[in-house]
């Protein structure tokens, strides 16, 4: 007991830290090709969002750069519409200066107008992915819309995860009166049809990104709560938690230092599934006019606009928004799937 370890060996030992759970998960994840590709797609979206937030791209989405409903470049400009020829008047020209009370001032106004330079902005005939009814660039609009939609999805999922995990942990760990109360709360939330609950919150909170996040988080935590609670009940009676109690670890430490890391994979996967779900719900809300404000754009508002455009044959806004959403949601789901496979200890076999 008196022998002191030489410093060099102690150092050597600490560096021999073994592969942790997360390292092992990453190793398994790398072997999953589908997961890796979807991770790359999600990262690409993330990069785009970062650029959009910093204003490098998509910040000018509100500029009316093209002609109204400019078609995408690859289709080519609209053929000039045939104007119906106007019948030219046949009678002789009549001098109206006698009866026109403003006639003496025309010259003066022309003088004044000359003091200002007028520039005629040339509206583009075509845009890369087309323009909307005001001639705004659909590509820029979609990039900005991606930023908001993904932000709403991720933020709402994080808040919902926080609420669900916290309540689930307390409900599952303590049980008894606290557990009963939380179960009651959960049942109240679950017994109301989801869409009705969302509308009720939306009606109270009004429009805007923040309200959408709050609405989604307040209605979406129940699934997370149920799952985390079940995990905490299961782990709470495990011997390693008992052992922690025996060495005097506090309730808080047992809940969040011992049990939480052991159920984190469940929470992580659930969070990514929630993100996908919330992105879709945001689209529905915005489509119904309960989503983001009018001066903001999201995938949902774009789809809502597309409804009236489609009748006129302007399909590009719908197509672009759908494409972005489909690619992101699919990639995110596949990534979550691969993540679950990589993290699920049950698949680890006899270790």
């Amino acid at each position: 007991m008196s022998a002191v370890l030489p410093a060099s060996t102690a150092l050597e030992d600490t560096q021999q830290k073994s592969e942790g759970v997360w390292h092992a998960a990453w190793r398994r994840f790398k072997a999953d090709r589908v997961g890796l590709v979807s991770l790359c797609i999600v990262l690409a979206f993330l990069l785009m969002i970062i650029l959009s937030v910093t204003g490098l791209i998509g910040s000018k989405w509100q500029d009316e750069v093209g002609v109204p409903n400019a078609p995408p470049t690859f289709i080519g400009p609209k053929p000039a519409a045939e104007m119906g020829a106007i019948q030219s008047p046949k009678g002789p020209n009549v001098d109206l200066s006698d009866v026109d009370p403003l006639a003496p001032r025309y010259a003066e106004w022309d003088e004044k107008a000359k003091q200002f330079a007028t520039t005629e902005t040339v509206k583009l005939e075509t845009l890369p992915l087309g323009g909307d009814r005001l001639g705004r660039d659909v590509l820029a609009k979609t990039i900005k819309g991606t930023e908001i939609s993904v932000f709403v999805g991720v933020a709402a999922a994080l808040v919902a995860t926080f609420i669900g995990t916290l309540l689930g942990a307390y409900g599952g760990f303590f049980g008894g009166k606290i557990g009963d109360f939380l179960e009651w709360l959960y049942n109240v939330f679950e017994s109301i049809p989801n869409i009705l609950l969302i509308f009720a919150f939306a009606a109270v909170l009004g429009r805007g990104v923040e309200s959408v996040v709050i609405i989604l988080a307040l209605t979406g935590w129940t699934g997370m709560y149920r799952q985390v609670r079940a995990e905490f009940i299961k782990h709470g009676s495990r011997e390693y938690v008992r052992s922690a109690e025996a060495i005097g670890a506090s309730n808080f430490s047992r809940m969040f230092r011992h049990i939480l890391p052991n159920v984190s994979h469940v929470i992580l996967v659930r969070t990514s599934l929630l993100t996908v779900g919330f992105i879709k719900v945001e689209v529905i809300l915005s489509y119904l006019g309960l989503g983001v404000r009018v001066d903001q754009v999201s995938w949902g508002t774009m789809l809502a606009e597309a409804q009236s455009e489609l009748i006129l044959g302007h399909w590009w806004q719908l197509a672009t928004a759908t494409l972005f959403m489909a690619v992101f949601v699919t990639a995110f789901s596949l990534m979550a799937d691969a993540l679950r496979d990589a993290l699920d200890p049950k698949l680890r076999g006899l270790e």
Partner: protein, 566 residues
């Protein structure tokens, strides 16, 4: 010859060209024969490849297993059979009984339905015939009132009864060979005895052979005709049981025989495998080995550290809609534990011994009684007063696979309790102390940064003991601390516990169902049954003159190895 295994090698493909050899090493494989109407026992520690060998007979291995060699069953090579042909054989010709009956039975079907399935599938009986036959089988394996039990679900039965059902299921199609993979390891000693007797009886009535897999050579001696000892994927020794016990040729076999605590001799230390093998080498080289140390007597007047008076614990069971019924798990337990002494608590599962241990620590809230520790009643302390007491009474749980947090490194596991109780100035000092303790329990410093899943059961149990020691406890409650371990590993851990007791003057409350183990380590023994202490005496006295029938039964249940007369 019923089954003949020649040069069998089994390896698992681990991906990327990595192959793990499970049975056989290099060019040498495993060979043995099972004659008709005989019992062959495969003995070895976990990881010795004994289960893999047995499972490869029926090809019940994972898909990544590669088998080479020959397995001949009545003249046919089983390795070349298709899956369909194997399925026709499974259950009909060769049947299996596994270790854990609870997870082998399907919880949503009644026992009768599960028994009828193989009868209808393999023997083509009608539903009514099958039901009748199943009932006979249940009666044959000794389940009382089989007519009623046919409709029971697995959770309504005890572990021993479930194992009987598994055996009945295996017998359903009159197999010629029964493979029993550690069928009694999960059971109490008394139940183990019954199952062993049942298997012996069925072997003669059904004219079948048994391939019995176990880590306990003592148990095997009572049932086997031939013994095959395996270690590290190779056969160390094989022969008739009488020869193996009377004249073991291999050092490892001798060590296995010596490492189980027995009732006849009580050494101060148990032989462990490595000791034994090195001692044998030394003897062969003509050196004298150290004489066996006799247990030194303990100070009978050592101060009492823990006194328990009238401890009781009841659970309330719901009955009907509003009714509650009291279930007395522990009643009126009294004892005094002196410094440096060990109190053994013995009983079958359900006897309340674990509940008693957890109540002492207040991991369960007691119903009545006093636990006097250092002049204070632990059971009336407030939460704040309890924390310093927690430090001084520690617990080691049964299952080393479950009692360590899988997401903590061994270092984190050891440092956490010191941080909570403010032992050591800073993390560096705590780490230093943790490393010293790791060496004390026989693990090297490299273990510090590893995770629990990288260790074997015995090593994990050492970590759990080291975690307790970080707090300098005075009393340790060992709740079936060695029951989940192999006999050889069990011996190492028991020795470690004794050494630590001598060095630190620890007092133990040692809870176990195995009287032989309790006798080895304890000074005083409490025998519990249905929550009541039925007998309380010194360890030697309990062994020499048990007063209660229950104690006698426990004693009789301990495997005694091969007896020529038996």
């Amino acid at each position: 010859m019923l089954l003949s295994i020649k040069d069998l090698k089994v390896a698992f493909r681990m991906g990327k060209g990595v192959v793990a050899e499970a049975v056989g090493r290099g060019n040498s494989g495993v060979s043995f024969d099972i004659p008709e109407n005989s019992t062959l026992a495969l003995v070895g520690e976990s990881g010795s490849g004994k289960s893999v060998t047995a499972m490869s007979v029926l090809n019940l291995l994972p898909d990544n297993a590669v088998r080479t060699g020959a397995i001949t069953w009545q003249g046919q090579n089983l390795l070349t059979k298709s899956l369909r042909e194997m399925q026709a054989m499974r259950g009909k010709e060769i049947a299996c009984v596994f270790q854990d009956p609870m997870s082998s039975l399907n919880p949503v079907f009644a026992v009768g339905d599960q028994l009828c399935e193989p009868l209808m599938k393999h023997l083509g009986l009608s539903a009514r015939q099958a039901w009748k036959r199943a009932e006979e089988l249940l009666g044959e394996v000794g389940i009382p009132d089989p007519t009623r039990r046919m409709k029971s679900y697995p959770h309504e039965m005890s572990g021993g009864q479930q194992q009987r059902v598994m055996i009945a299921m295996a017998l359903a199609c009159e197999p010629k060979l029964l493979i029993a993979d550690e069928p009694t390891t999960a059971l109490d000693v008394t139940i183990q005895r019954q199952i062993i007797e049942l298997l012996g009886k069925l072997k003669t009535t059904h004219q079948m052979s048994v391939l019995f897999i176990s880590h306990d050579l003592g148990l095997v001696g009572e049932i086997a005709d031939h013994v095959v000892v395996m270690r590290h994927g190779l056969i160390r020794e094989q022969g008739p049981v009488a020869r193996i016990f009377a004249d073991p040729h291999d050092d490892y076999t001798r060590a296995l025989l010596a490492c189980r605590p027995s009732l006849d001799v009580n050494p101060a230390r148990l032989m462990v495998i490595d000791d034994h093998i090195s001692a044998a080498r030394a003897a062969a080289a003509g050196e004298a080995t150290a004489a066996e140390v006799q247990a030194k007597p303990k100070d009978a007047n050592a101060p009492v550290v823990l006194e328990v008076r009238g401890l009781a614990k009841s659970f309330w069971l719901k009955q009907g809609v509003f009714g509650k019924r009291e279930f007395k798990a522990v009643q009126n337990v009294n004892f005094k534990l002196r410094r440096g002494h060990t109190l053994g608590v013995v009983g079958e599962s359900g006897s309340g011994k674990t509940t008693m241990g957890l109540t002492l620590l207040r991991l369960h809230e007691p119903t009545a009684g006093e636990v006097i520790f250092d002049g204070k009643n632990l059971l009336t302390l407030s939460a704040a007063e309890r924390l310093p007491m927690r430090r001084r009474i520690q617990v080691v749980f049964q299952n080393p696979y479950a009692s360590l947090n899988p997401r903590f490194t061994i270092g984190q596991t050891l440092i956490e309790p010191m941080t909570i109780h403010g032992i050591g100035k800073d993390t560096a000092e705590r780490e230093q102390r943790a490393r010293v303790l790791l060496e004390k329990v026989g693990l090297d410093g490299r273990a510090f940064g590893k995770y629990p899943h990288e260790f074997s059961g015995g090593q994990r149990q050492r970590v759990a003991i080291a975690r307790c020691l970080t707090l300098n406890p005075e009393v340790m409650v060992l709740d079936e601390a060695v029951s989940a371990l192999d006999v050889s590993v069990q011996a190492q851990v028991l020795n470690l516990l004794k050494d630590l007791q001598d060095e630190f003057g620890l007092s133990y409350v040692f809870i176990s169902h195995d009287l032989a183990v309790v006798r080895f380590i304890s000074d005083e023994v409490l025998v519990m049954k249905d929550g009541v202490v039925v007998e309380q005496a010194s360890a030697a006295e309990i062994l020499a003159a048990p007063k209660q029938d229950y104690t006698k039964r426990l004693l009789a249940a301990i495997p005694r190895g091969y007896r020529a007369a038996a």
